[in-house]
Symmetry: C2
Subunit: 139 residues, 2 copies
Amino acid sequence: MSSFALNARLEGDSYFVSDLTLCTVRLLKDANYPWLLLIPRQSDLVEIIDLEEADQMQLMREIALASRVLREVTDCEKLNVGALGNQVSQLHVHVIARYRDDPAWPGPVWGAVPAQEYSHDRVETLIEKLRDTLAGADD
Amino acid sequence: MSSFALNARLEGDSYFVSDLTLCTVRLLKDANYPWLLLIPRQSDLVEIIDLEEADQMQLMREIALASRVLREVTDCEKLNVGALGNQVSQLHVHVIARYRDDPAWPGPVWGAVPAQEYSHDRVETLIEKLRDTLAGADD
């Protein structure tokens, strides 16, 4: 495989949840919204179109899986999916659970309000639920 | 096929570019950034995961195609891809050409600055180039 190295800022801003076939899945350290990052474990990726076509398809499968699992675990009202990468160029896909009463609704979450810390118990419980549900689902 | 009807706000805010196998492709009426919308031509879609799995794969093919074409036509520095749908729930995917000197960089484009009108000539030329390049590419 190679020299995949997770960008230090992505790593510092998030907790490890699980590894799928293509991506490592992480939870952002922001209790304002349940917010997953999917990061393909390959080096030198910036855009989705930097992936081989088969891996683009696998990325979509994993986006769909993460979306279903996040909605099941959080009972959210809307999903937001995005690959921006303007600040951290390493390819990463956001899958975010949104609610009509969250602090950024109906705007996008990026840069809307400062991140809110999770309590230790709350984040442990959330990560465990996400991990178990991902493990029990098909990708 | 069925009762696909384009949401009136999406229609009013954009120009028709081209129909692909799954999606209709439109250009947002905002000269701040070359900005495509991909809208699957099926009724009652809100989330990507509302699509059948084969159509999710086709959506990824069309996102990749639109991304390649947009980058080729605009020579942009970064692509942003997103499916939010907080304001208009009908499923639509944004594929946006970003530049380090655009008015929202490095933030997201949504809600950043008021839309800027295209001149008639500029938008006609851009749509024609997008249409020709989409037609000449594989999806």
